[in-house]
Subunit: 145 residues, 2 copies
């Protein structure tokens, strides 16, 4: 009853607002990494590689929430850029192990820098503690999958 059941009900929802803001965040991020020759999903793949052990492409697909076939084309492009290398797993030769090259790490670092710049833009009207709260909140949501 403290709720305002007014017309903006949907807009005050986490689910909807997250989706709406997410799409503008993604397109702005895309604009920033476009000069680097990649798209947000490529950056995501790079980050996943930097984060984890040596997972299969199927694992990567699951982490990124995309189809395995998409990981193939993402990896194709990154390999063409010289950012990753494909090597057959000697223990299971069906698997293709993706490893970051030195250039790949550099590319990822530039993506992260671009993202940080964008963060400054997105949070320009917020105070330090507010930004920190946002980071923590997003972290928590992500943890719950």
């Amino acid at each position: 009853m403290t709720d305002v059941k007014g017309p903006e009900e949907l807009g005050s929802t986490v689910a909807y607002r997250l989706g709406a803001l997410g799409s503008v965040a993604e397109s702005r991020f895309a604009a920033r990494v476009e000069p680097l020759g990649i798209k947000p999903k490529h950056a995501g793949l790079l980050a996943a590689l930097a984060a984890g052990g040596a997972p299969s492409q199927q694992d990567l697909a699951a982490r990124l929430g995309v189809a395995p076939s998409l990981v193939v084309s993402l990896a194709d492009h990154l390999e063409a850029c010289g950012a990753v290398e494909r090597t057959r797993d000697s223990r299971d030769r069906r698997r293709q192990v993706l490893t970051l090259t030195r250039e790949g790490r550099g590319l990822l670092a530039r993506c992260a820098a671009a993202a940080r710049e964008l963060d400054d833009e997105l949070t320009a009207s917020m105070t330090g503690p507010q930004v920190a709260a946002l980071r923590e909140a997003l972290e928590l949501v992500g943890r719950g999958l």
Copy 2:
């Protein structure tokens, strides 16, 4: 300085995480409103109509961050559903005024209910204050556009 400048730099970014979480939030929301015969953008249009005066479709396009031509097809579908009505603006007969019908308001209410259910799911592992902080943070980011 509390930042870990490690390999997960990108993932700790607001821009990237917002984009990633946004896409899963949107797809889950899409799954929930799909039985209602609409997609997230339709819901967004309904909410925009409920929120504002009687804006032109161009205004709506700008608010939603999409091309005007997309608003046409969104409105087409909603009109077919009986959720909105098109009437020519008597003062400027180029403009088409979209108005919510009673059914449209009901549909929007169901979308909001679906979004609230999804909120419960997304924030299941969070405490009340944490959820409130998230809502406020998203609100602030959205305000800064």
